[in-house]
Symmetry: C2
Subunit: 191 residues, 2 copies
DNA sequence: ATGGTTTTTGAATCAGAGGTCAAATATGTG
DNA sequence: CACATATTTGACCTCTGATTCAAAAACCAT
C-alpha cells in the first residue's frame, strides 16, 4: 500500500553527509542537500523531518564508516608504531589529495556545534570514544607483541593520539603536507 | 573638517572580535556585530567596508593580543616544562570556565575558512607561526638553562605543540576538563 | 477502476542575511 | 552664518534559508 520510495534512504544520507562534510551544518542548504541526494526538497523533509535530523543520520553514518575503516586499517600487518604512523599520515594525506580540504566531519562538528547542540556534541563524543578504543586496543596488542614498551598506558596514549589527530586535521587546513608529516613523527615519539 | 567619529575603531573591532569568536564568521550577522560594537549598521559598513574586512581586522587584533599574552606568560619564572604545561592548561581552562565554549578564534577560523578564503588562511597561518616561534624560543632558552635535553629540536617540538594546542581546543569542546588535562601531560612527555 | 495510502514535487511562506542610500547631524573654514 | 566635508542612522532592497503544503503520482486491495 502507498507509493513506493523512489530512492535509497541510506544512499541519500551518504550524499547529504558529503555536503555537510564539505560545507558544515549551517553552510549546507536544504536545496543543496536535496540536489546532492537526487530528490526534491519536499521529499527530503518528508523522509527525514528536518535538516537537523538528517544531519544526525549523516553523523551516524560517518561514525560507522570511520570505525569500520579504522578497525580494518589498524589490524593490517606491521609494527604498532608503523601502523599508527601510517594511519595518521593517511588521514591527512586524504585531505591533501582531495580537491577540497574538508578535514574530519567529527572535528568540524565539534567546533561548529560542540557545546551548543547537545545531540551533536554527544554524537561526536561517541565517535571519538569509539576511535579511541580502537587505538587503545591496537596499542595493547602491541604491548603483548613486545612491540610497545610495557610501561605505556594504552588508554592514555590513545586519548592523546585522538587529540593529536584533531590537531592534525586542523593544521592540515592551513599548512603543507611536509609540516604536518613532521608533526606526526614528533607525536609518535612516545610509543 | 567633517563630523568627528563618535566611536573608537579599535574598541569596535575588539567587540566585533568577540562576536566572531563566539559565533563564527558566517554565524555573525551585521546586525549583531553593529549592536555589539554599539553603532548602527550603516556606520559599520562606512567604517569597515564589509563584514569580511571587519573580520580581517578582528583576526589581526586577536593575533596581536594573543602573541602579547603568550610572550608574557612564557617568560614568567619556572621550568620550561612547567611553564608550557601551565600555558596549555590555561588555554583550555579559560574555555572551561567561560560561560560559553568558544575555543580559539584562529582554530575556529582555520576550520571555517581554511582553504576557502585565502586571506583568512594566511592570517591564521601567520598567527600560528608567531606562537610557534614564541614556544620555540622558550624551549631554546630551556636548553641553554639545562632545563630541556640538548637533543630536543626546539622548532620541531614547538610545531608539534601547536598541533597539540589545536587538538586540545577542539577536544575541550566535547570532553571534560580532566580528560583534557591528562592529554596535556601525555603530550609533554617529549620535553 | 475505485479507494485508501504513501511518496513526490515545486510553489509559497516567512524570516533574516548582507549591503546600500538619502537624509540628518556634527564638525572646521572663510 | 553659510559652506564643504565626514559621520550616523534606520529604512529599504534583494536574495537566500528553512520549512510547509496542496496537488499530482504511484502503488495495493477489493
Amino acid at each position: 500500500m502507498g507509493r513506493p520510495k523512489q530512492f535509497d534512504e541510506e544512499a541519500a544520507v551518504a550524499r547529504a553527509m558529503e555536503v555537510f562534510w564539505t560545507n558544515g551544518y549551517a553552510g549546507s542548504s536544504p536545496a543543496e542537500l536535496a540536489e546532492a541526494a537526487g530528490i526534491g526538497k519536499g521529499s527530503l523533509y518528508h523522509a527525514f523531518g528536518s535538516k537537523r535530523e538528517l544531519f544526525g543520520r549523516a553523523l551516524d553514518t560517518y561514525d560507522r564508516a570511520g570505525a569500520e575503516f579504522t578497525e580494518e586499517f589498524l589490524s593490517a600487518p606491521g609494527s604498532t608504531k608503523e601502523r599508527i604512523r601510517a594511519y595518521l599520515r593517511l588521514l591527512v594525506d586524504v585531505d591533501f589529495d582531495a580537491p577540497v580540504r574538508r578535514g574530519c566531519l567529527a572535528v568540524n562538528t565539534a567546533l561548529e556545534l560542540g557545546g551548543r547542540d547537545e545531540g551533536a556534541t554527544a554524537a561526536v563524543r561517541r565517535a571519538v570514544e569509539r576511535s579511541t578504543d580502537l587505538l587503545a586496543a591496537r596499542i595493547e596488542r602491541g604491548k603483548l607483541a613486545g612491540d610497545v614498551p610495557a610501561a605505556v598506558d594504552a588508554a592514555e596514549q590513545a586519548r592523546f593520539l585522538m587529540v593529536t589527530i584533531a590537531g592534525l586535521r586542523v593544521t592540515a587546513r592551513i599548512f603543507d603536507r611536509e609540516t604536518v608529516h613532521a608533526a606526526i613523527d614528533t607525536a609518535l615519539a612516545g610509543l
